[in-house]
């Protein structure tokens, strides 16, 4: 069974990896001149993944009433989705 600090440490590591990934992808697309919408969609997906970690692990909403968890998860999905749609 995972101890509490392992769960938080894993989440921290995952957030750092995702942050690095989004910056690395940004650098790659800057020079590769590939489809910018695809790039934005990938970065926004990374935002949603990071948001889910903060909401479920750091804010401890995974075991909270589903209404509040769903509201917070919706935010980290809907806002990046709207931003992606604006850039299309």
């Amino acid at each position: 069974m995972m101890k509490f600090w392992q769960r938080y440490a894993l989440s921290w590591g995952w957030l750092i990896i995702l942050t690095m990934a989004s910056v690395a992808i940004g650098q790659y697309f800057q020079y590769a001149t590939l489809n910018s919408v695809l790039f934005i969609a990938i970065v926004m997906l990374i935002i949603a993944l990071k948001g889910q970690q903060i909401v479920d692990v750091f804010m401890e909403l995974k075991h909270a009433p589903s209404l509040w968890r769903n509201i917070m998860l919706s935010y980290v999905i809907v806002v990046p989705l709207i931003i992606t749609l604006i850039y299309i």
């Binding site: 938080y8 942050t19 970065v43 909270a64 709207i82």
Partner: protein
């Protein structure tokens, strides 16, 4: 709030059992704080969407503006805030197992990483001012300064809250059974800090990366 103490005691073991999980379905912190968090998130969502629309209308200006920003500074700030949030999360656990000194130490570490953010952000502003760039330079920098400065103020408020939480934890106020609501205050403060982190998670890629 009696439920808070109940949850606090339940969480003091390593993991809640399957049967106890359903009983522990409670919102961390005060309900009022969550409504406040929702209001803050809504305001920032309007900022983010407004920024994206403005960028779509001024692609060249925004590309030039973003090229003048210091991406590494933004990256360091992201890592600093995530790490700060991590220390706040584990300090909450320390409070639940009644280890006040450890909680205070972890809150101080969280404040140190928050201070890293403050120093780097101020350095970033100063370097832009030295280049003659300010809030009136163009639409990009108007939005850049508005959004990041508004977030900066939330960081400052969050730091005040963390100091208050550390002070109360140091004085053992969260261990006083007659002040159960104070423990809920600790959770509320922690959730506010995580919200500030959550906002930067969206702000950084939107303004610095894409």
């Amino acid at each position: 709030m009696p439920d808070n103490l109940q949850q606090a005691l339940g969480a003091s073991t390593n993991e809640p059992t399957a049967s106890s999980k359903s009983n522990l379905k409670k919102l961390p912190g005060d309900l009022a704080m969550w409504f406040f968090i929702l209001a803050e998130l809504t305001v920032f969502a309007i900022f983010f969407i407004g920024f994206a629309i403005a960028e779509n209308l001024n692609l060249v200006m925004f590309a030039e503006g973003k090229a003048q920003l210091h991406k590494v500074a933004g990256l360091i700030n992201t890592i600093a805030l995530i790490t700060s949030s991590y220390f706040v999360a584990i300090s909450l656990h320390s409070m639940r197992v009644r280890n006040d000194r450890q909680a205070v130490f972890r809150l101080i570490l969280a404040l140190v990483f928050a201070a890293v953010y403050i120093v780097i952000k101020l350095w970033e502003y100063e370097s832009l001012f030295e280049q003659g760039i300010d809030i009136e330079t163009n639409t990009f920098f108007t939005l850049y300064f508005l959004i990041t400065a508004f977030h900066f103020m939330h960081i400052l408020l969050g730091m005040v809250i963390l100091v208050y939480m550390a002070k109360n934890a140091y004085q053992g106020k969260y261990n006083d059974s007659s002040s159960e609501s104070e423990f809920s205050g600790f959770e509320s403060g922690a959730c506010y800090w995580h919200m500030v982190d959550l906002l930067w998670i969206i702000l950084f890629p939107l303004i610095y990366v894409i």
